[in-house]
């Protein structure tokens, strides 16, 4: 049963990621990204991480993809000759070769490393256990994450807010 769902969601995630890279329209890319994120959330669920699956849906699908689509709409869906170096195919071949090399290294590492056998835990990854860990051992990183989010919020407002008049100068 898990195999079936793994194949289904894994395939969906792969299709989504390929769609992001290959589609010419930025809106289509964002929607394929949504497919990838949703499939990843289901894979998280399959791995027993219920809390993270919901957080994934909320943060990635709910906030990040919506923000992407928002920006695409805001700046206009610019169509450009997007794939790099159409006139120099050697560059694209080099990119493909590099990525293939990287992937081969990863697969080699996965298959030829000594793994212990997997150990299952009951009541694993539920909201309660993750929350308890988050508020005890990982309290400091958790609080730091909130500071980072605040800094990012202020930074985004400064970056994308109105720039006239320039910062710090009084309005004439």
């Amino acid at each position: 049963m898990e195999w079936f769902f793994f194949a289904l969601f894994g395939l969906a995630a792969l299709v989504g990621s390929l769609g992001v890279v290959l589609s010419r329209n930025a809106v289509h890319s964002a929607l394929f990204l949504l497919l990838n994120f949703a499939a990843s959330a289901l894979l998280f669920l399959l791995l027993g991480a219920q809390f993270l699956a919901m957080a994934q849906i909320l943060v990635y699908a709910g906030a990040i993809v919506v923000l992407f689509i928002f920006v695409v709409m805001l700046i206009g869906n610019e169509t450009m000759d997007d794939f790099v170096a159409r006139e120099r195919p050697a560059l694209r071949l080099a990119a493909l070769a590099l990525v293939a090399l990287f992937l081969a290294g990863g697969v080699y590492t996965v298959f030829f490393s000594p793994w212990g056998s997997a150990q299952g835990i009951a009541d694993y990854g539920a909201v309660e256990s993750v929350g308890r860990l988050l508020f005890t051992r990982y309290l400091l990183p958790f609080e730091l994450a909130s500071v980072i989010l605040l800094a990012a919020m202020i930074g985004a407002i400064i970056l994308a807010g109105r720039t006239k008049p320039p910062l710090g100068r009084p309005e004439e």
Binding site: E2, W3, F6, G10, A13, L14, S17, L18, V20, V21, A30, N36, F37, S40, L43, F44, A49, F51, L52, Q56, V59, Y60, A63, I64, F68, V71, E78, M80, D82, V84, V99, F102, G106, V107, V110, W115, G116, A118, Q119, G120, I121, Y124, G125, S129, V130, L133, Y138, P141, F142, A145, I148, L149, A152, G155, A156, I157, I158, L159, A160, T163
Partner: protein
């Protein structure tokens, strides 16, 4: 139960596709989406290994990565919007602001 290695390989493939997208696309938005995708693949690795070793620490890391990703998207998209305002393009080949 699906072995952990299969999850790891799936994550590696998604990560590679994202890296390929970063290398071959020119649209800053698409490059950004590919970076998010790579982060997501790394998250999948963390969750798979967390199950493999039976600890929850990997899931905490993923939670923190999600917070960082949200912050990064807010800043990055702010930069893209500012870029479009100044240069009217999202083509990364034409972003050479330091060169007069």
């Amino acid at each position: 139960m699906v072995p952990t290695a299969y999850y790891l390989i799936l994550a590696a493939v998604i990560f590679s596709i994202g890296a390929l997208g970063v290398l071959v696309r020119r649209n800053a938005l698409i490059i950004f989406m590919c970076i998010e995708m790579m982060m997501n693949a790394a998250n999948l690795t963390f969750v798979a290994l967390a199950r493999h070793f039976g600890t929850l620490d990997g899931q905490i890391v993923v939670f923190l990565v999600m917070a960082i990703a949200a912050a990064e998207v807010a800043i990055g998209l702010g930069i893209v919007v500012g870029l479009v305002r100044h240069r009217d393009t999202t083509n990364v080949d034409r972003i050479n602001l330091l060169r007069w």
